[in-house]
């Protein structure tokens, strides 16, 4: 197996995730797109771990999974709060940061 086939698959997932993060209005869907990007990162880590015969990459992948779980928890809580305050999970209603 070529190293690159994994890396390019990861790049594709990443690009798709970027599209989703920007294009999705619904907060839950945006978080799912973030998960896609994190999958891309993990595939890279594990692929390099196998390529270099070094277990560290897998350890980092585990850390990323943990952090991702935390991120989803907090992210969903925030979206719940937005939903409760604005009556919709749509992120483009959140424009209090407007300059």
């Amino acid at each position: 197996m070529a190293l690159n086939q994994f890396l390019i698959l990861a790049a594709f997932l990443f690009g798709t995730g970027v599209y989703g993060v920007v294009a999705r209005r619904n907060g839950v869907l945006m978080l799912m797109s973030v998960e896609l990007m994190l999958q891309a990162v993990n595939i890279n880590l594990v692929a390099f771990s196998a390529f270099l015969h070094d277990v560290s990459g897998q350890v980092f992948a585990l850390f990323v999974i943990t952090v991702a779980a935390a991120e989803v928890g907090v992210g969903l809580a925030i979206i719940l709060l937005i939903y409760r305050n604005l009556g919709s999970p749509d992120l483009d209603r959140v424009e209090q940061l407007k300059g």
């Binding site: 920007v22 483009d92 424009e95 209090q96 940061l97 407007k98 300059g99």
Partner: protein, 687 residues
């Protein structure tokens, strides 16, 4: 205590934290912590000062000269005694092989400032307990005062310019917080912002100056090393000229010098004790302190020993005149004092510019007392006399009968400010003028004299409008509580006597002996006392007072008459009798006495009216026109216009960028990812 002086700034810092944490729960809202901390800091400062004096006297005694005879004797034996400053430091942080230090440098100058800052701050703390009693943010006010004191003390004891910069910025922040203490009212928060941004403009100069000096002195922020390098003119004259010019911009911003002085009168929006502490006695003299601290940089940079005209003296001279003229057209007593502060700071900067190091620092010392006293006196008047108003024409007048302590302390401060013998201001101002005259700066000698006369005149107007004549306000004026009068009396004692520390004709030169650096800067100019110039300056001041009394008192009586008639019509029958008495009095003097005057009296009257009055009126008219012109055109038009113009430009540029700030995080994400892509592509292509 000299080695342990770092404790002094730490005490108010601890008090700041304690007030923030526990202030609200204390029975007196945290003010007792602030007062206790400042009392401790003041005692330790006195101890430090005492030990420093011991050190100086020991050093001189070791060389066989009797210290009681002062420096004059030693100079005659040709021996120069060097008293080294006490320097302690530790490595603050390390970056790229460069160690950044923090520490203390205790010498005459810093001991002097320690004493002044802790004393005035202590008195202001005590004063504030009465002045701000019942305020919405009483606890926060005292926390901010403590933070200010600790920042100012950090600045004062700094042994390197970097630490000095830290303290400098912190006092600016505290000044911002305290000017905007009552930020609910728009003008107050505007004034706070104006003060902050205007001083920040100067701070850019200061930062560049510090960086230039850092490289010029061989990559060190150390003040002693910088001064030595400057005296050796290491790296050539030009780099020191650049450093001095940049540092001068910092001084202009902080010490309210022309053209960045406009923030200081607006800063009077803050509580009056704050104006006394920050905008009269301590923070605004930070610029002068910086000038005195790294004086060799200015000495070499501006070639002060050569005489003539240099930027520093010129800025100071312009500020003296402009500040004094502006003080004439203000009706707000605090604004009069603010412009007076600007003018007096001009004296200090000019003093440094003409080589009068000792005189400038001496003026800083005396000015701190009498100007703080004037502000606290104005605060006392508004607190108990005029219902929290500062308008002299509408709400004051005749208060000397109701507030004797405030009146007499205010008079002492006024005498000190006007330079009347033997009050404090006389000795310090005179020393600046004499040094200017003997150092080849004749032009600035005359500027200083004109400034002294103007000072005496506007202070006379201010005192007259506030304390003499009829009471024009409403309510029952009464003397202020003891927490206010006691600080006034203490400051009055200092205002009256502080000048005697350096009374040259009496053979006392203690101030010079204790404060003047003998280490790393031997070139301080010492003028001989001149009875001629001293008499000229006092006579100029007295003449100005007389002229002002003549002019303003007459104007004021007419004004009072008009005011009374206006109220008479509205008031009704109850006051008619008293009012009519006034009418009759004027009818008598104007018609009856006038008609029975003989021809000689009439001739004398004609001369009086047409010749003497004409001269007086003409002079006063010109002065007022000049002041009005300066205020309207220069101050409000040109300087403010430039500031506002820059603000408008920034606003427009912001408007263009505003469309990018959509507030939608997904837009930001889009831009972020696009930028990452472009940067990666760039790396790919160019590698």
């Amino acid at each position: 205590m000299l080695d342990l002086a770092w404790i002094i700034p730490v005490i108010p810092a601890v008090s700041f934290v304690l007030i923030l944490l526990f202030g609200k729960r204390m029975p007196r809202g945290g003010s007792e912590i602030g007062v206790a901390a400042l009392a401790a800091a003041f005692v330790l400062s006195c101890l430090t000062a005492y030990q420093w004096i011991q050190r100086v006297e020991d050093a001189t005694g070791a060389h066989g000269a009797l210290s009681a005879f002062g420096r004059g004797l030693r100079a005659s034996t040709g021996e120069e005694v060097v008293v080294h400053p006490v320097v302690h430091g530790f490595t603050w942080f390390q970056s790229g092989g460069m160690k950044f230090q923090a520490g203390i440098q205790i010498d005459g100058l810093s001991v002097l400032l320690l004493f002044v800052v802790t004393l005035v701050s202590l008195l202001v703390h005590i004063y504030s307990t009465a002045y701000l009693a019942g305020d919405r943010r009483y606890t926060h006010y005292f926390a901010a005062l403590s933070l200010f004191t600790t920042s100012m003390l950090t600045l004062v004891v700094a042994h390197n310019t970097l630490q000095l910069l830290v303290g400098w910025e912190l006092v600016g922040l505290c000044s911002f917080m305290l000017i905007g203490h009552w930020w609910e009212e728009q003008p107050n928060s505007d004034a706070a912002l104006k003060a902050f941004f205007t001083t920040r403009t100067g701070d850019i100069g200061l930062m560049i100056g510090i960086i230039v000096a850092f490289f010029a002195a061989g990559q060190t922020f150390d003040i002693v090393a910088t001064n030595q390098a400057a005296l050796e003119v290491a790296g050539g004259h030009t780099i020191w000229l650049v450093a001095a010019s940049c540092l001068l911009i910092g001084i202009i911003g902080k010490s309210g010098q022309f053209p960045l002085h406009t923030w200081l009168p607006d800063a009077m929006a803050g509580p009056t004790p704050v104006s006394a502490l920050i905008h009269a006695a301590t923070m605004v003299v930070a610029g002068v302190y910086l000038g005195a601290r790294v004086y060799p940089v200015f000495w070499e940079g501006f070639s002060i020993s050569a005489g003539g005209v240099n930027a520093m003296a010129l800025i100071g001279g312009i500020t003296i005149i402009i500040g004094a003229l502006l003080a004439f057209v203000q009706d707000d007593i605090k604004k009069v004092l603010a412009y007076s502060t600007i003018s007096q700071l001009g004296y200090m900067v000019m003093g440094l510019g003409v080589g009068a190091w000792t005189a400038a620092v001496f003026h800083l010392f005396t000015h701190a007392f009498f100007k703080a006293l004037l502000f606290l006196g104005a605060g006392s008047v508004s607190h108990s006399g005029s219902h929290h108003s500062f308008d002299m024409k509408r709400d004051m007048g005749g208060l000397r009968r109701y507030m004797p302590t405030t009146f007499w302390t205010f008079m002492i401060a006024t005498a000190a400010l006007c330079g009347i013998f033997p009050f404090a201001g006389f000795w310090s101002k005179d020393e600046i003028l004499v040094t200017a005259g003997q150092g080849g700066f004749t032009f600035f000698l005359w500027v200083g004299l004109v400034g002294a006369a103007l000072t005496a005149a506007y202070m006379t107007r201010c005192v007259y409008l506030t304390f003499f004549g009829e009471f024009r306000g409403h309510g029952e004026p009464h003397e202020s509580p003891r927490a206010i009068t006691v600080p006034l009396v203490v400051l009055a004692v200092f205002s009256a006597l502080a000048g005697l520390l350096n009374a040259v004709p009496f053979g006392i030169e203690k101030f010079k002996e204790w404060v003047e650096p003998t280490f790393a800067f031997p070139h301080v100019v010492h003028p001989d006392f001149s009875y001629a110039w001293a008499s000229v300056s006092v006579i100029a001041a007295l003449a100005a007072i007389a002229a002002a009394v003549f002019w303003f008192v007459r104007e004021e009586q007419l004004g009072a008459l008009r005011g009374l008639t206006g109220r008479n019509r509205a008031a009704g029958a109850a006051y008619t009798f008293l009012e009519n008495k006034y009418y009759l009095d004027h009818l008598y003097t104007g018609v009856v006495v006038g008609s029975i005057k003989g021809p000689i009296a009439r001739a004398a009257y004609w001369v009086n009216q047409n010749v003497i009055d004409g001269v007086l009126n003409g002079t006063a008219y010109l002065a007022r026109r000049a002041a009005r012109f300066t205020y309207d055109v220069l101050d409000q038009g040109v300087v403010d216009g430039a500031v506002n113009g820059i603000a408008a430009q920034t606003g427009e540029a912001g408007g263009l960028l505003r469309s990018v700030q959509s507030g939608r995080i997904q837009r930001y994400a889009l831009l972020l990812f696009a930028a990452v892509g472009v940067l990666s592509l760039g790396l790919y292509v160019f590698n």
